[in-house]
Symmetry: C2
Subunit: 351 residues, 2 copies
């Protein structure tokens, strides 16, 4: 009987090997059909890196550790209710779900707060490009009147110096510095943390050659995305974040959105007439799970946002099916959040 | 050479066994000196359970899973900024660090928000006992005008029903129910989650017989805590939460705190003259890391709070040293937060 069982096992094993080989061939065959799309996508978007480094602020484990703690720190805001995590809650894919972010004392921010996942390698931060980097964004947020609302950088440093636990964290993150608890190091630590926040998605698995990682509708949507010309602006591994563009190239967006009034965009920063209504092209990673849409959160639904964009940017009137396909493709950009990013740190005790 | 190594290993092993036996004897000896204190503490406080169950709402993994998601849900508040986690951020030991909690549209709550760690086995919830259980607290919070501020329970149910991801979570948590997405199940799920939030501390290790788990000052502080009579009100494994007491038995608290005005306490609930200035005795677990103190957050420092309590509740004027010792003991109640409690859930996507 033992031999019988062994034979059965062998037969089963052979059948399994045959089946596996067949499956592999089948999937290789399927992949061959998709290979064009994989090649095209890889060329336009390219592989998502594991982190988003910069020479100005090398990523170190100690900096990331401190940065994560500071990301959750509420006690450095004027009313004790604002932390980075307030407008970027991880549980909502690091965006806040509001039309416009609300900071200290419920003050409304001028624009919608984007996810900080995959955000650190953009040409600039904020919709109108008035923050040069994630470090600059973190630094300016603490004194930003609708953000943390603190009166000065010194007032933030004073609070951090008042909690012993922070001294060790800053010393570890910036070894050899005499007085490491500074606002610039605060910004560097948060920046280093944000530079690690990358969320690989089914789309990345697809670009790596796993044709089954995306549904047929998602692949159709990707084709439509490329054929329509969306990738003219939304390129790079982040599917955006690399250039400015006028919002409303063909038609004004006010015609289609529920926007209350026109935002002059980057003109507010440069005062160049050519920058009027220009915005940074947003990163589209995690876009399906971070409504509402546009700089003013004036559109709730992803398919509506897709249709409007094709219409006013490219003059193309996508059919309902095409719109839904593109939205399906965009949902393949919803990333996997690492356990590390899902873990909340315990903040140093107040003294 | 092999034999040589083996012999060396044996010698090392013998030395280790001897050393271990010696250490054990030494620590057993130290424990003998502390045994009285361990016995007394165990009698008054008793062992901290692993969860805080109730017959009315049995804890199940599926309920806890849903409850945790709901605990972070912001989209069921009138301004989209309030979740349970807002007033109970885990990173600050599940309290918010504010004098009085701030809810929707920055509305101030009437009293300080306590940590929800080790909170579910109190006789009642809230400072004046106007919530019968953690389930009742969760339910009433959503329509509480300074809390989530929603117009009705139905409006909350409608939002939750509008997100497909929630249906599965509710079905899993309440199997067999036709229409499981109800406000009562919402409350039960959050309650079940909160009933798991227990944070064992060095004090528990001490009560289990590990005399070295507390410092000498902490042990001195525990003795002072017992000798002064603090445990008359602050007893049970939660070191409080089991009775009401007048705040200011001997002297009015307004004499020593920065309180703006007297709070009538439980009188507001019962209208019984005997309940005037009565408050639920708070749980002291994690008290050292959850300032500010008292129902109105009117005191910032733990040692000051300790001194005031002894003075106005027991008529005892603790010395600076005694006060610091008691504060040290209270820091032995700072608990270990499980990795599970530190992990943020990903919320269902909006549709």
């Amino acid at each position: 009987m033992n031999i019988g069982i062994r034979l059965k096992q062998r037969t089963f094993l052979k059948a399994f090997v045959f089946f596996a080989a067949f499956s592999f061939a089948a999937s290789a065959h399927a992949a061959a059909g998709d290979q064009d799309l994989i090649n095209k996508a890889s060329q336009i978007f390219g592989p998502l890196p594991q982190t988003m480094p910069t020479e100005q602020n090398p990523i170190t484990p100690a900096k990331v550790k401190l940065g994560k703690v500071l990301f959750y720190e509420l006690r450095i805001s004027i009313d004790g209710t604002v932390s980075c995590a307030k407008c970027h809650p991880i549980s909502l894919h690091a965006a806040d779900g509001l039309k416009k972010a609300k900071g200290n004392n419920c003050k409304e921010n001028p624009r919608n707060s984007p996810t900080i996942f995959n955000a650190a390698s953009q040409i600039t931060e904020h919709w109108i490009g008035n923050r040069t980097s994630v470090e600059d964004q973190a630094k300016q947020a603490v004194t930003g009147p609708p953000a943390f609302g603190m009166p000065s950088y010194e007032s933030v440093e004073k609070i951090l110096k008042g909690m012993k636990g922070y001294l060790t964290l800053f010393q570890d993150a910036f070894p050899g510095e005499k007085d490491p608890v500074t606002i610039d190091n605060f910004a560097k630590a948060i920046g280093a943390f944000e530079r690690t926040m990358v969320t690989p998605a089914p789309f990345d698995d697809f670009m790596k050659g796993n044709a089954g990682a995306m549904t047929e509708q998602q692949k159709k949507g990707l084709k439509t995305f490329l054929d329509t010309g969306c990738m003219t602006c939304h390129f790079s591994p982040y599917v955006g974040g690399q250039m400015y563009q006028k919002f409303g190239v063909i038609e004004p967006y006010l015609k289609y959105t529920k926007s209350e009034k026109a935002d002059e965009g980057r003109f507010a920063v440069t005062k160049n007439e050519t920058d009027r209504f220009l915005f940074k092209v947003p990163v589209l990673r995690n876009v399906a799970v971070t409504p509402p849409y546009f700089h003013d959160g004036s559109v709730d639904k992803l398919d509506q946002a897709v249709w409007i964009m094709a219409k006013i940017q490219l003059g193309k009137d996508l059919s309902k099916q095409q719109t839904e396909d593109v939205a399906a493709f965009l949902s393949s950009l919803t990333g996997r959040i690492s356990n590390e990013d899902l873990a909340v740190p315990i903040l140093p005790a107040g003294e």
